[in-house]
Amino acid sequence: MVDRSVANEIIVQTKERKPFSIMRLITNEYFLYGVSLVAFFSIWHYVAATKLLGKSLATPYEVVLELIRMTHLKLAGKTLWGHIWASAHRILIGFSLGALIGVPLGLFMALNRYVNAFVKPVFDLFKPMPPIAWISIAILWFGIGEPSKVFIIFIGSLVPCLLNAYNGIRIIDEELYDVVRVLGGNRWHEIFQVSFPAALPALFAGLQISLSIAWTCVLAAELVSARSGMGWIIIRGMKLTKPELVLGGMAIIAIVAWGTSLAIAGLEKLLCPWRRSIRDL
């Protein structure tokens, strides 16, 4: 039996190995991924090298060269790593504060209608306000130093964290609480065995949104007033008319933001094992 099934598999595999053809190559997904990327960088390089759009575009090669130069050359007293850390540091503090206050507050509001009735009116007043709108008042209150930037990021992170924690609990099927009650559980069991675990995925979705808003906020704050950070690098590149500096800064921001988002996704995978196989399908 075993021999036969192995033999069958070999036959199937040889059958599936079709001869090479152009049609099969251009319908291969991975081949198309490659074509797409090569085409993008080629066109970029061509447009930049021939100065088709004027002088304000650097070739991909120049951008990479500039970034490598910046890793050891200091700009305003900091290398590239120093500037990445300056922005990341602000995000870390602002985002953590936003999450540490927003998530518990959202959970409390969803679990207790008196807390909800007290907090919601004021929260609804501030909810639709874009966090960037706070920049000027933040500078008036805290000056142009670190606190004003952290404050903007905090405001930006707070809202999605709170909303998702709140909604994560509100969408739970009431009958799940019935299950706990019928099994002999009390209100605490309902909260710890149903509310919190069921809200966890929504909570992580909120953290992801907060994080991307936090990046927007830190850049905006640094564009307005800063002596360090990735936002400042971009502004610096613009003032010096160095497109390779601007583009390099943008690329680094994308990479670091992508990395932080992956970190949250990794944490979610660790804490929500039941979501793993759904995602990986």
Binding site: V179, V182, L183, G184, Q193, W274
Partner: protein
């Protein structure tokens, strides 16, 4: 049946229920239900959709309070849910974030049973419902029939005196349904206790019940008739007596079942 004592396990006395919707609108769901369920009896409550049978079950579970009348379990009035009654839901209601064994051990866990002990209990009921080998699976990885096996095992693992099943097979396809009916009968024979099984399926009712209570077609739900079933188990859907009984019940009720 021989195992049954004549002493009633559950008594429903003049149960009525009116829900108040949107502040003013009143929905009269149950009217004067009087019911006695004997110890270790398999009682089926049969009725069409929207006739209040699920509400009756939720009242017995203690999740709803009756507007009038009372339910007694072993003589004591039921006021709230408790581990002496287990409930199986039509929509399974499994904890998506817990594995099969994590779901089944929930009852003992809430009652403070130690980890080793509750794992042993859970494993016993997982084996009983035929889910051996799926202990570490999450609910979304299981088929509908398997999910309901988890629901049944979870209710049993809490060792309730009364099992309440609310249209447990309503979401299953016909084949799986018949198979699961055989399974619940086997489980009940292995681990006898009082069962109240709510369904809208007449074949399911005759196949499983020691007794069938029918409810009338429309709201408020009122009791229509009671049919004792003395057919030997396991029963055959195509048996002459089975079909005769089916005809009797269908004729007596004004509805097409």
């Amino acid at each position: 049946m021989a195992e049954q004592s004549s002493k009633p396990k559950i008594i429903c006395q003049h149960i009525s229920k009116t829900f108040i919707q949107k502040g003013t609108q009143r929905v009269h769901v149950l009217e004067d239900i009087n019911l006695e369920v004997r110890d270790n009896e398999f009682l089926v409550i049969l009725g069409p959709g929207q006739c209040g049978k699920s509400t009756l079950l939720r009242i017995i579970a203690g999740l709803e309070t009756p507007s009038e009348g009372e339910v007694r379990l072993d003589g004591a009035v039921i006021k709230k849910p408790g581990p002496d009654r287990g409930l199986v839901f039509q929509t399974y209601m499994l904890f998506a974030w817990r594995t099969v064994i994590g779901n089944v051990e929930m009852g003992p866990k809430l009652r403070g049973v130690g980890k080793e002990e509750r794992r042993k209990i859970a494993q016993h009921y997982i084996d009983l419902v035929g889910l051996k080998g799926f202990e570490k699976h999450f609910p979304h990885q299981l088929s509908g029939g398997m999910k309901q096996r988890v629901g049944i095992a979870r209710a049993f693992a809490n060792n309730p005196e009364v099992m309440l099943l609310d249209e447990p097979y309503g979401q299953l396809d016909a084949q799986t349904r018949i198979f699961m009916e055989k399974e619940i009968e086997r489980i009940w024979q292995t681990d006898k206790r009082t069962v109240i099984f709510v369904t809208n399926n007449i074949d399911e009712a005759i196949y499983l019940g020691d007794r069938i209570v029918t409810l009338k077609n429309k709201l408020p739900g009122v009791m229509d008739a009671v049919y004792p079933i003395d057919l030997p188990r396991p029963r055959e859907h195509t048996d002459m007596d089975f079909l005769k009984l089916r005809q009797t019940i269908t004729d007596a009720s004004e509805l097409v079942l």
